[in-house]
């Protein structure tokens, strides 16, 4: 009982008595000169959102994966994006008109609330219809407003004609 450990075994101590004082003085002065140096430098933060030199949206790189956007004019309704989406935030409904034998998109919803911006839907899109924008501010008062409906309810849109080459590719992927 009452065995005390020697100073060396106590965690966190090293060096001699005066050595430690010296170390403390030197290292604290080193540290304080670094922090004072930064006090004399320009801060690197920017003041989002209203005091940035130009809108943050414009400073984002080209590949930035923001909120998804769809160009209905080039969409071929190949459903590749819906298949690629791991979450299932893209919902496409295509109907075939029995009279004209034409396909129509009746629904193309992207649920931005679910979307995790992974970019997997952009890769397989043959015409580049679906793509990420630089838009990243999506806050709304209700989560249901985040469902982007690219086909207005009740309407139907005729999909674009896929080009020959891409059609083959689209066929190949089904294998």
């Amino acid at each position: 009982m009452a065995t005390t450990a020697s100073t060396d075994a106590v965690p966190g101590f090293r060096g001699t008595y005066f050595g430690r004082i010296k170390n403390a003085i030197i290292s604290i002065m080193e540290g304080m000169s670094v922090t004072l140096g930064y006090l004399l430098q320009r801060p690197i933060t920017i003041q989002y959102p209203d005091r940035t030199p130009k809108p943050v949206k414009d400073t984002l790189p080209e590949r930035y994966r923001g909120i998804l956007e769809l160009d209905m004019k080039t969409c071929t309704a190949c459903l590749a994006c819906e298949r690629a989406c791991p979450i299932g935030c893209i919902k496409i409904e295509v109907v075939k008109d029995k009279e004209t034998k034409k396909r129509y998109i009746t629904r193309f919803d992207i649920d931005i609330a679910k979307c995790m911006y992974c970019g997997l839907c952009v890769d397989p899109c043959p015409g580049g219809a679906i793509r990420h924008t630089n838009e990243f501010e999506g806050s709304t008062s209700d989560v249901q407003y985040l469902v982007r409906r690219f086909v207005p309810p009740g309407e139907r849109i005729e999909p674009a004609k896929p080009k020959k080459k891409e059609k083959e590719e689209a066929g190949a992927e089904g294998s």
Partner: protein, 404 residues
């Protein structure tokens, strides 16, 4: 203060009808209120803004800059917010003590201002036990902190309260012992006497008087940081260990009181250090009063200015230290106190006594203060050199404008 009271009574004859004790009491209460409203509250608030701005720039951020010009009114906004918040008492807390604790902490801090000098004659009460009174009355803070820690009925708070009590009680010893060399040299405990015993020029300050007071200066300053729970001794409120220590459960106004006390304490640490070691309000060229004609000779404007300037510089140093250093562990904090500060401060007392005897015999020793002053100058010089080196290595650019 007495001189001021004399002056007021002399100029307002109707006061002479009333017993002098009551007049003194009223004047003192009046000045205490002024002190609280126009100095402590203002200072604590503005310091909170300054600290956040300095911390921001040190961390390469901007800091608060939205409320008012350059965010200067941020402290009012924060204060208002806290006053309007719900004063929340945990269900399992001991309500009476929980509600009382912040006031005791605050009273302990605020009562110190009674003897903090602001200039020649500008002191609420020049008690002849001045510095001893500071040590005594500030021990109220410990009780308040223990009270808050225990009554919160939260284990983290309890640990914080215990840590704080252990820390403050321990560091009271080296701090008191570091004051003793100064008292030996002065022969008085009164704050104004201590300041008068020093001179206006840096080498006449007690910090540079002899090697022992030089060490005592550092021991006092660091020990005072520990007593005020400032980094690197912020162990009681170590946010990464104890969530927030003894004030974890506090909210609203009572929470503000703790921080009010903390920021007021910043000024107390600085002012005491300036009083004891850095020459107080002594001004070089006797730029004495009458600057504004309205003020009586007893109000020393230039001295007050010098005193507050020195104190503010030390406040900046404290902030700077806070945003640089990591935190000690609780046993290391004790280790620093008992194994380093206490022996050194004892040696200082003995050394100062021997020095005083020797200095009487050999006046040559009086020149040591110039050497020590040069040594003291080396510290900012060394830091400046290190900063230039850092800038060179990291290819940084200087940007001095504080307003962004």
């Amino acid at each position: 203060m007495e001189r001021l009271a004399d002056y007021i009574v002399y100029n307002l004859p109707f006061l002479q009808q009333i017993p002098r004790v009551i007049v003194d009491l009223i004047i003192m209460l009046f000045f205490a209120t002024c002190m609280l409203l126009f100095w402590v509250a203002l200072f604590a608030g503005i310091t909170s803004w300054v600290e956040r701005r300095v911390a921001g720039r040190i961390q390469s951020r901007i800091g608060p800059n939205r409320v008012g010009p350059q965010g200067f009114l941020q402290w009012i906004a924060d204060g208002l917010k806290c006053f309007l918040k719900e004063d929340f008492v945990p269900a399992a807390a001991d309500k009476k003590l929980f509600l009382l604790a912040p006031y005791i902490v605050f009273a302990g801090m605020f009562a110190v201002f009674v003897v903090v000098p602001f200039g020649d004659g500008l002191i609420i009460s020049n008690l002849n036990i001045g510095i001893f009174y500071v040590l005594a009355i500030s021990s109220l803070v410990v009780v308040g902190i223990l009270m808050s820690g225990w009554s919160s009925n939260n284990k983290w708070s309890l640990l914080g309260g215990m840590r704080s009590a252990a820390q403050i009680v321990s560091y009271e010893i080296p701090v008191s012992l570091a004051i003793l060399p100064v008292i030996l040299l002065t022969g008085s405990l009164g704050m104004q006497d201590i300041i008068r015993a020093q001179g206006p020029y840096p080498w006449q300050w007690f910090a540079f008087h002899n090697p022992f007071t030089f060490i005592a200066f550092f021991i006092f300053f660091i020990g005072a940081l520990a007593e005020g729970n400032r980094t690197p001794f912020d162990i009681p409120e170590a946010e990464s260990e104890l969530v927030a220590g003894y004030n974890t459960e506090y909210s609203g106004m009572r929470f503000v009181f703790f921080f009010f006390a903390e920021w007021a304490n910043l000024y107390i640490i600085a002012a005491l250090t300036v009083t004891l070691f850095l020459g107080g309000w002594n001004t070089p060229a006797h730029l004495y009063t009458n600057l504004f004609g309205l003020l009586h000779r007893s109000v020393d404007v230039a001295g007050t200015f010098v005193f507050i300037l020195k104190s503010l510089f030390l406040v900046f140093v404290i902030i700077w230290i806070r945003w640089t250093l990591p935190r000690l562990r609780v046993d290391q904090m004790m280790d620093v106190c008992w194994k380093y500060f206490v022996p050194f401060s004892f040696a200082n007392i003995v050394g100062t006594i021997i020095w005083m005897v020797l200095a009487d015999a050999a006046p040559v020793l009086g020149y040591v203060r110039y050497i020590l002053f040069v040594v003291g100058l080396m510290v900012p010089l060394a830091i400046a050199m290190k900063i230039t080196r850092n800038f060179r290595l990291a290819k940084s650019e200087i940007h001095l404008n504080p307003f962004i």
